[in-house]
């Protein structure tokens, strides 16, 4: 098995590391590659920043990613449906 990753393999593993726990072999190979490859290191940082931004902004009340409100009509409709349940 070849422990030396190329950048295409490394970028794939970088993304995968965000979705599941890598094997120790994968983790080791990736760490070695990142130590030698500035561009893949930048890529890893950028994917991390992307995840950070999206999580932070959506947590803060979902304003930017989906800034719509329920219309007053929709709210009255829901409320009258609730009352109809009695």
């Amino acid at each position: 098995m070849n422990l030396m990753l190329n950048c295409e393999q490394a970028s794939k593993l970088i993304s995968e590391s965000m979705d599941h726990r890598l094997t120790w072999l994968q983790k080791g190979s990736l760490r070695i590659h990142l130590a030698m490859c500035a561009i893949c290191s930048a890529y890893a940082r950028q994917l991390g920043i992307l995840r950070e931004m999206i999580r932070r902004w959506s947590r803060k009340g979902v304003k930017i990613l989906s800034g719509k409100n329920l219309s007053p009509e929709a709210k009255s409709r829901i409320k009258s449906n609730l009352r109809r349940q009695s």
Binding site: N6, A42, M53, I54, I64, L65, K68, R77
Partner: protein
């Protein structure tokens, strides 16, 4: 209807005004279709109305309601993924047009650095707007799977079950989405 439910109705009605928007935006972000989002919010409030005894143990209505809504969204996706149209829309293989690597599979050129200013980090920033637009460029199924993974932090195993795909498929899909978003941001922001 039991009297317990009767006295609960005005409480839930008030929640529609208080939390309706938050629930709607939560749903809309994930299902994208405004009508579907509205239906899910309505189903959530109806389900809440039927379980006043469950709520008594909770302190925060919003958290409890979001919990119900999460289940409704999950059920919605489970039904959705059974349609052929949904299955077709998910790209399963690596993108053959991916040109960032040369023949030796090394990067063709270095990546620009992403140093965010404090202004850019704010949710009101133009950068946030750009990220939002880049997310809009994803297909509906791409967006659904990505947000379930990133925002709701659903584990790979669960996502595979839900979308009926293998782990390898899932990871390829998420990788492609992340690449697309990164490219979009690089093109439109970090020029």
């Amino acid at each position: 209807m039991p009297s317990e439910h009767q006295s609960f109705i005005p409480v839930v009605e008030q929640w529609v005004d208080q939390y309706g928007d938050t629930l709607y935006r939560y749903a809309l972000l994930r299902v994208r279709n405004p009508d579907v989002a509205q239906d899910l919010v309505q189903e959530t409030f109806l389900a809440a109305l039927k379980s006043p005894q469950t709520f008594r143990n909770e302190s925060a209505p919003q958290t409890w309601l979001i919990g119900i809504l999460k289940h409704k969204i999950f059920d919605h996706f489970r039904k959705e993924t059974k349609t052929a149209k949904f299955q077709e829309a998910l790209p399963m293989e690596d993108d053959p047009t991916e040109t960032h690597f040369n023949e030796s599979k090394r990067w063709k050129s270095p990546l620009k650095s992403w140093d965010l200013t404090p202004e850019e980090k704010s949710e009101d920033s133009a950068l946030a707007e750009t990220v939002s637009k880049c997310l809009d460029h994803l297909t509906e199924s791409q967006r659904e799977i990505f947000l379930l993974r990133e925002l709701d932090e659903i584990e790979s195993g669960e996502l595979c079950k839900l979308f009926q795909i293998t782990p390898t498929n899932l990871w390829v899909i998420l990788h492609r989405i992340r690449n697309q978003l990164r490219n979009c941001l690089e093109k439109n922001w970090f020029k």
